[in-house]
Amino acid sequence: MIMKGEGLARLLFRFAWVVQGLTVAVGVSAQMIHRVEMPPDWETIPDVPGWYWHLVHALKQHTWWITISCFVLASLAGWMKVAVGPPKLWLQVHKLLDQFQARAFPPPSNSNAPPLHHNRVTLFQHRPWIWAFCCWPGTGWMVPIQRSGVATRKTAARFRAPDDAERVEGIAGTVWVRSGTIFVPTLEGQGSKLLPAIKVDAPDSRIDEYAKRTFTSERWIRRRMKRLHNDGCLHRSFCGFPVTVEGKPWGVLVIDSMEGALDPAHISDAFTPYETALSTLLAGR
């Protein structure tokens, strides 16, 4: 199972790789052919096909246009490769999230281990623009890049994170603007109660409370509810913290669980062995 858009990203990366290779080859060939001396009677030389000399002649006439075009195309392909990121890197990030998830949520001693998708780790990246049919695609968004486990990875859950901090959405957006770690429910105070259980038939009051405490809209929660089956339930506790790469804010890691409130000390301990690896991987993009 791959993340939504991950297949397209892989295809784009390979396409960019091929385009870059071809354009560099054509550009270099054009420069080399430019230096070939054309024989005066090139059109009538026997044993050499006519198209060959016509091609050489055309290349010699348009060498500089071809070279410049190839340079522009190769640069664009290079930019696309960097923007998409190598698929192998995302595979490594996924493995790392899996390891972090396994450490944060060790299977209980009895045999009733919850399914992997009950406790997830999702890496969101902040992007100033998204290619999507939605309102304000250019205002800044938190986009899911990788998620631990094998199920629920084709998520379309993206959250607004515009420059106007008052209009951010979701746990990911809230963590992004605050650059600090947030737990829902909180450890103490008004918000320390576990998030209400949202099942298919959840009453409006619960939906309203859930939406309010997860910084989303009621409409958004109802859309999520449509995907629930039978005894399915939305996640009941969240933790999010910012991810920086070379000192620059890059995105957010969100941990969610259906099982109960998350323990800050345990989550922090679980992440410690992977902190450096994650930053190094993301810096190598």
Partner: protein
């Protein structure tokens, strides 16, 4: 220069109280980011310049900028604003006998002052984490200073 080794910081020993915020009627607690907690610190004494230096090591590297002040110079991350290095002018603390306690107070006091000057909670937390990291070494970070004098 007297060099001392890096002292690894246990994040569990770095207690930064969370900031309570109200977001659209919902109370949340904002804790320090794991990226703002120093992974290791070290203290060294530059005999020639008579400066005591404290270095902070974090998860990621970044370009640095120096912010000189009267007696204490700080080097911070250009992008994150995290404290990377502190240079304390020992002579300016006390002309003849500089007690370790004076140095400790000056260091912790400076960190409190800078935290207070930061408008962002995340940056205040980063200074608080640096302070807690120093305290968690239980004075070991100052060993280079006491040993050299």
């Amino acid at each position: 220069m007297t060099m001392s080794d890096w002292l690894k910081i246990d994040p569990r020993q770095v207690h930064v109280p969370p900031e309570v915020e109200n977001v659209h009627g919902v109370e949340i607690q904002v804790f320090v980011s794991p990226y703002d907690i120093p992974k290791a610190i070290r203290g060294e004494y530059d005999k020639r310049e008579r400066r005591f230096i404290i270095d902070f090591d974090y998860l990621d590297q970044e370009p640095l900028k120096e912010l000189p002040e009267k007696h204490v110079t700080r080097v911070v991350g250009e992008l994150s604003g995290r404290l990377r290095r502190l240079k304390i002018d020992v002579d300016a603390l006390n002309a003849k006998t500089v007690a370790l306690q004076v140095l400790q107070e000056r260091v912790l006091g400076a960190l409190d002052t800078w935290a207070g000057q930061e408008p962002q909670v995340a940056r205040q937390h980063a200074y608080a984490a640096a302070k807690e990291a120093i305290k968690s070494t239980k004075g070991k970070v100052y060993e280079a200073f006491t040993g050299a004098r």
